[in-house]
């Protein structure tokens, strides 16, 4: 296979992009298009599968193979595709409603099976396409069209849920940080197994400012925490704060009072610590971004192919006539 050299433009389809002006989806599209040339896969071997939602329009804009499927089922469709065609690079595009409401079951089963696919979960904490109902990630008390008195649902913590489903790769990024997003996209791509990348995405029409504190210049340094494997958890305006573990309890410390050596060192391989990080949700804690957890576990499709190979080895390639004949025949002349 000769390796073509692509540019981001090669991945832009001829379809007019039709999200609302200002929607966070644009930025994600742009970063994905710009990362594609770097993953070193021929364009024709890349497939984007989405469900339904604003975010799920994504495949139409990618000059690759793609399917805009039905609500909540992209994960299941991608599973079948990957089982049939392990050679492809399969990307799943989904929203917080698509993946966590109607599609919750297929998502957790995808994760446990560990098909080598990349899930980009556009979390805008709202139903965009249906014009503004609360989603499973909307905060309690949220007033939306369907909850005029405020939502009474305790929201999912998507990454905690995915950890519970034994995901092998979990990360978070946001629409407003293109560089970090590109890095996370590459990491997702490079992980062998299901990569779950949650992307905070602003829906400026129905849920504007949901992540404001994490993107606004004035606050973002204090409200975000960028994880790097092997590095201490440091954040703040001047990198002057850190997180220390007191037993199982994370506490915020000032680096004036506490040496950097005492800080929690991020370890992507540590499931328990990853679990703790997914719980950083209170107002006084910075929100973590980066790779929370990453584990090597055989993929479903590899095991499947192995069984096929083994079966061929053991029984020889299937012969239709033998099959039709079976083991018990009689002849009438």
């Amino acid at each position: 296979m000769e390796n073509k050299v692509y540019t981001a433009k090669d991945f832009s389809s001829d379809q007019e992009v039709r999200w609302c002006p200002g929607c966070g989806d644009y930025s994600i599209l742009k970063q994905v298009q710009s990362v594609m040339p770097e993953i070193n896969v021929p364009k024709e071997d890349i497939v984007f599968i989405s469900g339904i939602g604003c975010s799920s329009r994504f495949p139409y804009y990618m000059e690759t193979f793609g399917m805009h499927s039905i609500h909540g089922r992209a994960t299941a469709i991608a599973s079948g595709l990957k089982a049939a065609r392990p050679d492809l690079s399969v990307w799943i595009i989904t929203g917080d409603g698509d993946s966590l409401s109607i599609g919750g079951n297929h998502l957790i089963h995808l994760l446990r099976r560990n098909f080598d696919t990349n899930v980009l979960l556009f979390n805008n904490q709202i139903y965009g396409l249906t014009k503004g109902q609360y989603s499973p990630t909307s905060e309690k008390g949220k007033k939306t069209k369907s909850t005029p008195m405020g939502s009474i649902d305790h929201p999912f913590n998507p990454l905690a849920l995915c950890m519970g489903a034994d995901a092998t790769f979990i990360a978070r990024t946001m629409d407003r940080d293109p560089k970090h997003m590109r890095e996370m996209l590459m990491r997702s791509n490079n992980h062998k197994g299901t990569s779950l990348l949650e992307i905070y995405q602003n829906c400026n029409v129905f849920n504007d400012g949901a992540f404001f504190g994490m993107t606004d210049k004035a606050t973002k340094m204090n409200q975000t925490l960028f994880l790097e494997h092997g590095q201490p958890l440091v954040f703040g305006e001047n990198k002057d704060k850190g997180i220390r573990l007191d037993g199982f309890k994370p506490i915020i410390v000032s680096l004036e009072d506490c040496s950097i050596d005492e800080l929690w060192i991020h370890n992507e391989k540590d499931r328990v610590k990853a679990g703790l990080l997914t719980r950083f949700f209170d107002a006084d804690f910075p929100r973590p971004f980066g790779v929370f957890y990453s584990e090597d576990r055989p993929t479903y499709e590899d095991a499947l192919v192995q069984q096929i190979d083994d079966a061929m080895q053991q029984k020889g390639q299937g012969n239709l006539d033998d099959l039709l004949k079976g083991s018990n025949t009689w002849t009438i002349d």
Binding site: Q15, P42, K43, E44, D45, I46, V47, F48, I49, I52, P59, Y60, M62, E63, T64, F65, G66, M67, H68, S69, I70, R73, A76, I77, A78, S79, G80, L81, K82, A83, A84, R85, D87, L88, N105, H106, H109, L304, Q307, I308, D310, A311, M312, Q314, K315, G316, Q317, G318, L320, D321, L323, L324, K325, G326, N328, T329, W330, T331, I332, D333
Partner: protein
């Protein structure tokens, strides 16, 4: 003792779930087949996995009809009822014809068994003369079995497990059959357990000899080989045949088979069967539910595989939305529905044909899907293969309808050679097609297929309405109408690629036409054959293709005064016929979770024929 030659015999074996009845039945079946009889069989499982021993709910049965003539069903009334306990007798006596033979294990008629089977303290069919109309052969199978194994070093439980061999031996003697095949089978099955092999063989022979020497059996029968087409046969069950049909379609098309399924009675055995054949590159996938199963199959088809999903009615009810997607994508997809008693969970272990309208209309919007049905266990093979051909060559989801009756029923099959199978042409576009348009169509209105990996042919598909030719999203009014009509016409045109409907029996000028589909085949065939012999003016047409109908169907059926449509439902095919041809066809319905008996059909035809 007499020795008679008979044309056809129906035997029903019945006992507790643990009594090995299914094995007994299938051994008898294989021996009859090897002997050259035509035959048809049907197992009758209890609804519970393993209901309490001795109860009515726990009875397992196996029916076989074999003969020297053509056999199309497992039979209406039984000639012989073999029962291992009183519950088995009570549950099945209604099947036995007056004067029929009962072979019974007296040990299963003790106090405990009588109580478990719901008899009052002083009731016992052995002693109250209630079996006076039948020819009863009593034997204490347990005792006899144990006695003949007295010097074998097995536990009592293990010894008792040989009981079924005693009865089998007995019946072999009655029908003059050699023990050879079963002994071979036992050798293979127990080749690592010589003592168990020895015990079973011994008990089998003991049963045979017991029949030979004792006085209780008054007659012996001969059933000569049937005049069947020459060739090599095997026995086949419907679900097995379906699995093979799918593998054959994969081979004939060169597409890998992807089978996404969620277990459900009575479809699960297809999954079990396919899972065994990974050396045919079969990718069987037990999904988390039916929606995932069909979705995964669609994904696989998108990737260029032959995507297949199978289930029963409740599962189909969940797949509707995804089938609509496949219909819009115009990808090959097979949806197998092994129908069972409905509605809702209904009667999961019983048979019914009540999901036809669901197959036709169970989706939102205008989404016609071809519907193919199978009529006998072995027909499942060809019908499945045909369904796959249509799905692939016409780029469409296709429903394949089977049901519990043919799925679990078995019959001899003059199996084909692979070289004689129809080939399947995949409408894959040329790799170098530079002006590929995903929704450009040929004169069958079929779009060309391009799959991931084909450089330069990258494109997107989806469930939103598509623009003609390009497949881009289009909200245009005129385009929508064009696309709806085109998709419908595409399905209609499949009629050009299926054979005209033929009569299965009778002439084009008869008074009554019996028009039917699916597993009613055997009963109707039997009825019509007998009526023709008796001089009635009747014909039988059996549909494999329900959507679209064969092109000549209208003219064919218009020729008859009366069109009778028997169905194991409350009237579904008849709705399609009446709607399509505005013909006042006559329904005949049975909704009891069991097949028609040939005589029921026969009586109804006679009524109609002689003018109600």
């Amino acid at each position: 003792m007499t020795q008679e030659t008979v044309e056809k015999v129906v035997i029903f074996f019945a006992g507790d779930s643990g009594d090995g009845i299914q094995l007994t039945g299938s051994q008898f079946t294989n021996t009859a087949a090897l002997y050259g009889n035509d035959l048809s069989t049907f197992p009758d499982f209890p609804a519970e996995i393993r209901a309490p021993q001795g109860t009515l709910a726990g009875v397992s049965g196996f029916q076989i009809s074999f003969g020297s003539t053509e056999i199309f069903t497992p039979g209406d009334e039984c000639d012989v009822l073999v029962v291992m306990n009183v519950a088995a007798l009570k549950a099945n006596l209604k099947r036995l014809k007056k004067g029929g033979a009962i072979i019974l294990n007296t040990d299963g008629f003790d106090k405990r068994n009588l109580r478990l089977a719901g008899f009052a303290d002083d009731e016992n069919p052995l002693t109250d003369n209630s079996l006076a109309d039948y020819r009863v052969s009593e034997m204490n199978v347990t005792k006899l079995t144990r006695e003949c194994l007295v010097d074998v070093t097995l536990g009592v439980k293990e010894k008792d497990r040989c009981k079924n061999m005693f009865v089998l031996g007995f019946v072999y003697w009655m029908y003059n059959r050699s023990l050879e095949h079963t002994i071979d089978f036992l050798k293979q099955k127990f080749n690592s357990k010589p003592d168990v092999l020895e015990a079973n063989t011994r008990v089998l022979k003991a049963g045979y000899n017991f029949a030979n020497t004792c006085e209780i059996s008054s007659s012996r029968f001969d059933v000569k080989p049937a005049k069947m087409a020459s060739g090599t046969y095997r026995n086949i069950m419907g679900n097995q045949a379906t699995a093979m049909g799918l593998i054959a379609a994969s081979q004939q098309s060169g597409l890998d088979l992807f089978y996404g399924s969620y277990p459900i009675t009575p479809a699960s055995d297809i999954l079990h069967e396919l899972a065994k054949h990974k050396n045919f590159s079969v990718r069987s996938f037990q999904a988390e539910d039916e929606i995932a199963a069909v979705s995964a199959s669609i994904g696989a088809s998108f990737g260029g595989a032959l995507g297949v999903t199978a289930t029963s009615g409740p599962g189909v009810a969940l797949k509707g939305e995804a089938i609509g997607l496949a219909f819009m994508l115009e990808l090959p997809l097979i949806i197998v529905n092994v129908q069972r008693g409905g509605p809702s969970t209904g009667l999961p272990t019983k048979t019914e044909q009540a999901d036809l309208l669901q197959a036709m209309y169970g989706r939102n919007g205008e989404a016609p899907v071809p519907v193919i049905s199978a009529s006998t266990p072995s027909d499942c093979f060809e019908a499945t293969l045909d369904a796959c051909r249509i799905a692939i060559e016409h780029m469409t989801p296709v429903f394949f309808l089977s049901d519990g009756y043919i799925a679990n029923g078995a019959e001899p099959w003059l199996f084909p050679q692979s070289k004689d199978l129809q080939s399947i042409k995949v409408p894959m576009t040329k790799k170098e097609n530079t002006d590929y348009l995903p929704y450009k169509r040929d004169d069958k209105l079929v779009r060309e297929w391009a799959i991931p990996g084909m450089s330069g042919l990258e494109h997107r598909v989806g469930g939103l309405e598509k623009e003609d030719l390009t497949g881009n999203v289009s909200y245009d009014s005129g385009n929508h109408e064009l696309m709806v009509k085109t998709r419908a016409e595409k399905v209609e045109r499949i009629a050009d690629f299926i054979p005209n409907q033929e009569l299965d029996a009778g002439s084009e000028k008869a008074t009554v036409l019996v028009l039917a589909w699916g597993s009613t085949y055997g009963a109707i065939k039997t009825a019509v054959k007998e009526l023709l012999a008796e001089g009635y003016s009747v014909a039988h047409a059996h549909l494999r293709y329900i959507n679209p109908f064969p092109k000549n169907l209208e003219s064919l059926i218009r020729a008859y005064d009366k069109v009778l449509i028997p169905e194991i439902n409350n009237g579904q095919l008849i709705k399609l016929i009446r709607d399509k041809y505005v013909i006042d066809a006559i329904p005949m319905n049975k909704i009891q979770g069991i097949p028609f008996e040939a005589r029921e059909i026969k009586n109804r035809i006679i009524e109609l024929h002689d003018g109600e």
